[in-house]
């Protein structure tokens, strides 16, 4: 009864998914040329998505949780599936926390975060309950809006002549090695590794061949947009200024000033980021609801609203202040969550499945 996602819907969904929260903070600025980080790390991304595609191809249209049970047997499989559900919930709560921070800084100051989280969670639950097809159509609209937003932002910045490409220099001041290191250390997991979530949709992805073609294409365009956004921020704010600004894109958008009338564009940035985070959180919620359905039996629509509220509760408790939030994400989350769940387990599952496949054929 789950109908297939069309190509365009899948492309838009992956694009918005990849851009969702990484627009807010931009790639972590460990190296002066932060806009190179995304481009430098294209090869590792392709390897990572290659694993997922191979997993999907061998699993022939079964979703992630079924593959886990098929590879690891009933008990271990269920354990890993539980782990993945919690992992998706954790990432969703981190995304939600990113957005709440932006709202509390850019738009509202005294509103308690409870209200913001609650309103947002209601919307995400409603979006996720619509099923994957409605989410696909929604992300087409939002992908269009995000692209339009970047075009408008660049034109406005250009006309208020605050773009100065001189600020991008000195080019590769710390050499290519530093950039590659930074991209491996942080950027490969944060926006790109999470494409794993699409495996959880299984049959509604429309076949492995289309997934490979479209997945690759959306990955490349997401990298292009992200590095363009970083380049824009660097050319407007300058490398050093960007290092200490919490929301770099927001600071860049604040510099728009045309004839003292078209100014103060913070709302435009907040508008786009909220939509991006809605889609991303809805996808994560849908994936973990599917996991819960797989593990506990009852229909996933029953889980979606309560898991959404759970994400809300987690996002309030995930970190006490901004510094902890960022450091937790950059250092601890990578070693304790991203590497095992995005690299180790999928690779092991792939190998096990291949072994079982050869064993059965032999």
């Amino acid at each position: 009864m789950e109908s297939k996602l069309t190509g365009l819907q899948l492309y838009a969904m992956m694009l918005v998914f990849l851009l969702g929260t990484s627009i807010i903070y931009g790639t972590p600025r460990l190296v002066p040329d932060s806009w190179l980080i995304d481009i430098a790390a294209i090869v590792p991304y392709l390897l990572l998505t290659g694993i997922y595609l191979a997993l999907f191809w061998t699993g022939c249209d079964r979703n992630l949780y079924e593959l886990l049970v098929a590879a690891w047997g009933k008990h271990f499989g269920k354990l890993f599936a539980l782990g993945y559900s919690v992992y998706f919930l954790y990432i969703a709560s981190r995304n939600l926390r990113d957005m709440v921070e932006l709202i509390l800084t850019a738009l509202l100051r005294n509103t308690p975060s409870f209200v913001i989280v609650l309103a947002f969670v209601g919307i995400v639950a409603y979006a996720a309950c619509g099923g994957i097809i409605a989410l696909g159509r929604l992300s087409i609209l939002i992908a269009g809006m995000v692209l339009f937003f970047f075009v408008v932002l660049t034109c406005l910045l250009y006309f208020s002549d605050s773009i100065d490409l001189e600020r991008v220099l000195p080019f590769l001041s710390e050499g290519l090695g530093a950039v590659a290191g930074a991209s491996l250390r942080s950027s490969i997991w944060f926006p790109y590794g999470e494409v794993l979530v699409f495996l959880a949709f299984g049959s509604s992805l429309g076949g492995a061949k289309t997934l490979r073609k479209i997945g690759l294409f959306s990955l490349l365009s997401a990298t292009a947009i992200l590095s363009f956004s970083n380049l824009l921020q660097t050319s407007v704010l300058g490398i050093e200024n960007m290092k200490y600004s919490v929301f770099a894109l927001l600071d860049a958008a604040r510099l728009i000033n045309i004839e003292n009338f078209i100014t103060r564009m913070d709302a435009l940035v907040a508008f786009i980021i909220i939509f991006g985070v809605i889609v991303k959180s809805a996808i994560f919620l849908y994936a973990s609801a599917k996991g819960a359905e797989f593990l506990f039996g009852s229909d996933w629509r029953g889980f979606a609203p309560s898991l959404a509220l759970l994400i809300g509760a987690l996002s309030i408790k995930v970190s006490r202040n901004n510094a902890e939030h960022v450091s937790e994400g950059l250092v601890y989350a990578i070693y304790w969550l991203h590497i095992p769940f995005q690299l180790a387990i999928p690779l092991a599952t792939l190998l096990l499945l291949r072994l079982r496949l050869n064993h059965k054929e032999a």
């Binding site: 509103t111 308690p112 639950a125 409603y126 996720a128 300058g238 103060r264 609203p305």
Partner: protein, 404 residues
Amino acid sequence: MRKLARLVGAVLLLGACLQMSGCWDMVEVSRASLMTGLALEPGHNGRILVTLEVLNSAETMSFEGGKGGSPSQLYSNEADTIVEAMIRMNEHLDRMLIPSHIRVIIVDERIAREGLDRFMDFVQRSRYVREDVTLLVSRGTKASDMLRVAYPDGMYAGFGIQSQVFNYHNNWGGVPDSFMYEVAQSAFSPGKELLLGAVTLDKKSDKEESVENSKKLDPQTLVRIAGSAAFRENRLIGFLSKEDTRMVLLVTNQLKRTTVSFPLDGQGKYAAIRLIRCHTSKKVQMIEGRPLISINVEAAGLVASMDDNLAIDKIHGYEQLDRLASEHLKESLTATIGKVQKQYKVDVFGFGEHLYRHRYHEFMPVSKEWNEQFAKAKVVVQVSVRIERSELKSRNQTQNKVVN
């Protein structure tokens, strides 16, 4: 099934509102008033005296129902930090203050000498203060006197000063546009020191300032632009004259349009050239430990006035004028750079930043004491002014004799 999710959204949203009732960020506009100007002076024992210009919107020009009262009032308060002083304004002000529309921040000379860091953090961190706020240094007078100047027909001091600096910068270039944004830029980018606009006050009579005498033929007190203020590590070290500031803007490519007047042949005859577009390309390199700065200025202009009857209907006339203009510009440019090198020893031209950007490995070893390096740098200036047209008349009308 979908009813469930919709029910969840609706019930919980309502529940939340009831639980914490009230609109947290609501500011009723008719009960609030705008902060449009900020003046900072040293207060008693190390505290900061903050003077705020609060707008009385009923009197501003946009509302014809005004009863002719002064469009803005000044309130001042003293505290250890600026934020606290601003927030505590309600000690003697009944309305809620909206900080997001400050147009001008005037820093007193005495505070600037101690260093800007003390108050820069709040201004950059707060989302209310925009990046295009004009930051000025008051020269020779108290900062709060600047905001006391009255402007005719409902114009308030904050807006007046900002448009004065804006127009002066665009038409003649004697003052940098000194946005808040530049403080952050110069603080971070190595090799470029901060240059802010400086304003002063010339008071004809010390009568108390009021709206009436702003309507008189020659207003008593006026805000005058006094060139610019040079900083080293965010500490004021000196003021530059308007002519020197124009040359600094020329080098940093911030000069929009200007008028240069130069002597023609020494007997008190002058020509004025209106420069429409000027562009400077810099080349900075370290030659055996000593920076060599070569500047190439190109400018396009038109003849504004000419006392002598140069033959500018002929080609050689234009070439002569070009040559004269270029030489004059070159002299004043080298003079300014020499003066800044000797007197202030601070690189407000951004040569260090250019070296940092283009020759990163040459700059890093000297980055710590770049100002000293700049002081002993060798400067080569090359100017080429191209005068394109002489507007309506070609020769000087008054001196044309029928028979000569």
